[in-house]
Symmetry: C2
Subunit: 317 residues, 2 copies
C-alpha cells in the first residue's frame, strides 16, 4: 500500500529498533539515503542497524559508523532505494516478506513492502530523505549532509540528468548550508580517475572505430586489454558512455569480452535511435538511450551482426 | 566605486539606451549573464545592444537574438564578467574609460568602471544577474532562464567546483522552475565532444608522462598535434584538467606550444601544492589549484625547468 510521507515519518517515530536494508552492489544513493536515515534515527535515540548483502565500498567510507552497535531483533524494517526484493541480494533475501516500509523513487517498484512511500519524480531516495528528515525534526549535521548530498549527486550525474528537479536543487542548497563537503565529494565521485581507468580510456580511444558516416562508434575491450590496464568491472563503469559523447554519433556500441567467444554489449544512443529496441533483436533490453545484450560467437560474426542491426536502426529514419 | 545591488538595479531602471559589453574569448558566463541582462532590459522596454570583440561562438547560438536592432548611441554602458579593461579586446577597448557600471564576481576586479557591483562569493555573474533581474521585477521566461542557467553551470563545472554556493542552487532551482532546458544544456556543455577533441584527448593520454612517484603528470601538446587533431584553442579548454584527475597526481603540467620555442603552461594541482606559487617562479600566476605561465626556449630546457620547480614544490612538504 502506498502511503504519504507524513505517515512514513509517523511510523518511524513510533518504532524503536529499526533495521535499514539497502540494495546489492550498493551505490551512492542506497547507502547515502540509508546512512542519512541511520544517523537521523540515532538522533531520535533509536536503536538502528544498516545492512547490505555485499561488502560496503571503500569509496563511501565517510558514511560508515565505526560505532555501529551489534545487531538486534528489529521491531521495524525499512528498505531504501530497493525497487524489487530481488535486489536485496543473497544475505538479505530472508527479509523479502518482512519489510514494513519501503522508501523508493523507482516507478517500477513492485510494492512488496507492507507500506511504500514512492516518489517517482524524485531524483533519488536521498532527495526524499531530505524532506523526510525535515518532517522528523532532525538536525542536519555534516555527517547527514554528506550522506544525502552524495546520494543526490551520484544519481543525477551532479545535477546534469533529466531526473534533476527543483526540489533536488533546493535540497542541495540546504545540505551545503548544513556543511556538506561538496567540493571533496564531487572531486572523489566525478573528478578522480585511477591509473587503470586512464589506461583503459587510452586503449578505448586508440581502438575506437566509426561506421555509417561516423554515426556509429564501435569499441571492443578484450580481457587482455582489461588485464593490461589493471582494470576490473568497476573500472569499466562509464566507459560505454564515451561513444555517445562524440558529436554526431547516434549509436555507440561497446563490447566487453567476458569469456571465450562471449561478449557483453552496451549500447548508448542519441535521441535518434532506440537502444532498447536495438538490444531486443539480441534478447537484451534496457532504456531508450542506454541498453545492453550479450552475444556469443567469434568476434567477426558478433561485430557483423551488431553493425548490421545498428545500420538498420540508423536507416529506418 | 563599489555599489549595492539595489543601486545597480536603480541605475538600469533610470536609463533607456543601454550597451552591454562582454569579455573577449567569450564563455558561457559572460554571454549568459550578458544576454540574460539583454532580454531582461528589453522586457522593460529599453533599447539594448550587446557587444563582444570576438565572433560569438555557435555553441551558445540559443542565446542570440536574430532581432537585435541596429547599434545606437548608448546613454549607459554596462560590462559583465569583465574583471579588467584589458579583457575587452580590440574592438571594445574604445569603451575602456566610458563604462558606467561593471557587474562582476572576480575579486581581482580593477574597479575601472564608474560604479561596480562586485560579489566575489558569487559562483558566476549569471548568479548575480538572477538576483538583479528579480529586483528589477523581470518575468523569467525560458530564454532568460536558459541564458542564466548556462552561465551557472559553465562557471561551476555543473555545480561541482568550490565556488558553488547556497545561492547558486537556489537560483538553479528557480531557473528550472522557469523552464530552463537544463538537460539539453548540460548535454551540450558537458557530454558532447567534437571529433577534434576526442583526437586531442587520445594524443594527450598517449603522450602523458609521469614523474616523482607518479605525483607529477606531464603533457606536451605541439602545434603539429593540434593541427593533426583539427583542434583550435576552444578545443583545448579543459584538456589541462585531465592531469589532475588522475589519482595520486599532485601537480599536472600541460604545455601547449604557441610558437617556435614558446610554450603556454597550465598548472593544475591537488590541495598538496600551490599552483600559483609554482607559476610565480616563471612570472605567471593564478589560483591556488589552477595557474599558468609562459616559458620560452627549447623544449628540453623548458621541461627541465618545470619539472625542477614541480619537484621542489613536492619536496617542500
Amino acid at each position: 500500500m502506498k502511503i504519504e510521507l507524513e505517515l512514513a515519518a509517523q511510523r518511524l517515530r513510533e518504532h524503536d529498533k529499526i533495521l535499514i536494508l539497502t540494495h546489492k552492489n550498493p551505490d551512492g544513493d542506497t547507502l547515502g539515503s540509508g546512512f542519512g536515515l541511520y544517523y537521523g534515527l540515532k538522533q531520535l535515540g533509536k536503536q538502528v542497524y544498516l545492512r547490505n548483502s555485499d561488502e560496503l565500498p571503500a569509496k563511501f567510507s565517510y558514511f560508515y559508523d565505526s560505532q555501529m552497535t551489534a545487531e538486534f531483533e528489529p521491531d521495524y524494517i525499512v528498505s531504501v532505494d530497493v525497487g524489487d526484493t530481488k535486489l536485496l541480494g543473497t544475505k538479505l533475501e530472508q527479509y523479502a516478506d518482512k519489510i514494513d516500509l519501503c522508501i523508493d523513487h523507482h516507478v517500477s517498484n513492485t510494492l512488496y513492502a507492507k507500506e511504500t512511500y514512492l516518489d517517482g519524480a524524485a531524483s533519488s531516495v536521498s532527495e526524499i530523505l531530505f524532506f523526510l528528515l525535515e518532517l522528523l525534526g532532525i538536525w542536519f549535521d555534516e555527517q547527514i549532509a554528506n550522506c544525502l548530498y552524495t546520494g543526490l549527486v551520484t544519481d543525477t550525474g551532479c545535477f546534469k540528468f533529466s531526473n534533476t528537479g527543483v526540489k533536488t536543487h533546493l535540497a542541495a542548497a540546504r545540505l551545503i548550508e548544513f556543511g556538506a563537503d561538496y567540493e571533496r565529494i564531487n572531486r572523489d565521485m566525478f573528478e578522480t580517475k585511477s591509473f587503470a581507468r586512464i589506461a583503459l580510456e587510452r586503449m578505448v580511444l586508440d581502438g575506437m572505430e566509426f561506421y555509417f558516416d561516423r554515426r556509429c562508434a564501435y569499441v571492443l575491450v578484450t580481457r587482455a586489454m582489461m588485464e593490461e590496464a589493471g582494470a576490473d568491472y568497476t573500472t569499466f563503469d562509464g566507459i560505454s558512455a564515451i561513444t555517445r559523447q562524440i558529436e554526431g554519433v547516434d549509436v555507440g556500441l561497446t563490447l566487453r569480452e567476458i569469456g571465450a567467444d562471449d561478449y557483453k554489449i552496451s549500447v548508448r544512443t542519441s535521441a535518434a535511435v532506440n537502444a532498447s529496441e536495438l538490444c531486443r533483436k539480441f534478447d537484451g533490453g534496457g532504456h531508450v538511450r542506454a541498453a545492453g545484450c550479450t552475444l556469443k560467437g567469434n568476434i567477426a560474426d558478433v561485430k557483423r551482426k551488431l553493425l548490421a542491426a545498428a545500420q538498420e536502426m540508423l536507416g529506418s529514419r
